[in-house]
């Protein structure tokens, strides 16, 4: 868990992303409870993604993607799944995150690595 109310994470593409503890609890994990034990993976995805994308319909949002192994979703162990973390460029705020099993139509324009 976050030790203080706000953690700043230097992302692979050079943004100081902000993950707020209160926002993590009241929105991200409340809506996506499977993320509860995986906050460190969210931070790791921001630091070391496999790709960073500009959102298809909202150019002010960046999507950090990384494949993860052995993830427990409820009582189901998923061998391999992608973690997507969304960051708004304007304030570098971590918007939300989730595990994506299928990605129809891709993730928009890749902006890192170029």
């Amino acid at each position: 868990m976050l030790e203080s109310g706000l953690v700043t994470i230097l992302t692979a593409d050079g943004i100081d992303a902000e993950l707020d503890e209160d926002h993590w609890k009241t929105h991200i994990v409340k809506g996506h409870p499977e993320l509860t034990p995986y906050q460190s993976l969210v931070i790791e995805t921001l630091k070391h993604p496999e790709g960073v994308y500009r959102s298809t319909r909202d150019s002010s949002t960046r999507v950090y993607a990384r494949s993860c192994l052995g993830i427990l979703i409820g009582e189901t162990l998923v061998e391999k799944i992608n973690l997507l973390v969304f960051v708004r460029e304007k304030n570098a705020f971590v918007v939300t995150a989730f595990f994506a099993a299928v990605m129809w139509r891709g993730l928009g324009e890749r902006i890192w690595p170029l």
């Binding site: 926002h23 929105h27 409340k30 809506g31 996506h32 409870p33 499977e34 994308y53 959102s55 298809t56 319909r57 909202d58 949002t61 999507v63 979703i73 409820g74 009582e75 189901t76 998923v78 799944i81 997507l84 969304f86 708004r88 705020f93 918007v95 939300t96 989730f98 595990f99 994506a100 099993a101 299928v102 990605m103 129809w104 139509r105 891709g106 993730l107 928009g108």
Partner: protein, 188 residues
């Protein structure tokens, strides 16, 4: 493997994160799930153990819906509570290798070809779209689902009047089962 999924949406919960413009919709209390993303902004949440749609997450909800074709939204504002009455029935048959998806009660209907192995189901009375079916599902089901969803996403953001009839009708049929007025009021 044959399967039937019957789902209703009576206990729909909404959470709107005003600070980040993210809308969380949960069918029942939020549960651990994986996402099927349709582009990056729309996540359909599925429970992995016994496959059920347990929610939707829309990232940039107000921004996205401000760019959706206005003619699709304006007609829906009076349709309060449609989602609570909606039901999804998904049925896969081994014998015919066909997936049937309905969001209305079964009724006298006919099929209209959407593309190679995708057929829209229209009610005999009124001609409304009540579902669709995908044939040759084992080999071509995933591609067919992608084609259907892509058609609907493109219809959402297209210039009015430029979308093919079946894609437009299917998009309207799905939107009619969302309580758009309520969603917009939550995000207002």
């Amino acid at each position: 493997m044959a399967f039937v999924i019957e789902q209703r949406f009576e206990d729909t919960q909404y959470g709107y994160d005003r600070e980040t413009d993210v809308l969380y919709i949960s069918f029942g209390p939020p549960r651990p799930a994986v996402a099927l993303t349709v582009e990056d902004w729309l996540a359909i949440r599925i429970t992995p153990s016994a496959p059920q749609i347990c929610g939707l997450t829309i990232i940039g909800f107000k921004r996205i819906f401000s760019r959706v074709r206005p003619d699709l939204i304006e007609e829906l504002l009076e349709r309060i509570g449609r989602l609570e009455k909606a039901r999804f029935h998904v049925d896969y048959s081994d014998e015919t290798d066909t997936l049937t998806f309905r969001f209305e009660e079964e009724q006298p209907a006919y099929y209209e070809r959407f593309s190679d192995n995708i057929y829209l189901e229209r009610s005999l009375v009124g001609g409304e779209i009540v579902g669709f079916k995908i044939t040759r599902y084992t080999e071509q089901g995933a591609a067919a689902m992608e084609k259907l969803l892509s058609s609907m996403i493109e219809a959402l953001f297209a210039v009015p009047g430029t979308v093919s009839g079946p894609a437009d009708a299917l998009t309207r049929a799905f939107l009619e089962h969302l309580d758009i007025a309520r969603l917009l009021s939550i995000a207002a």
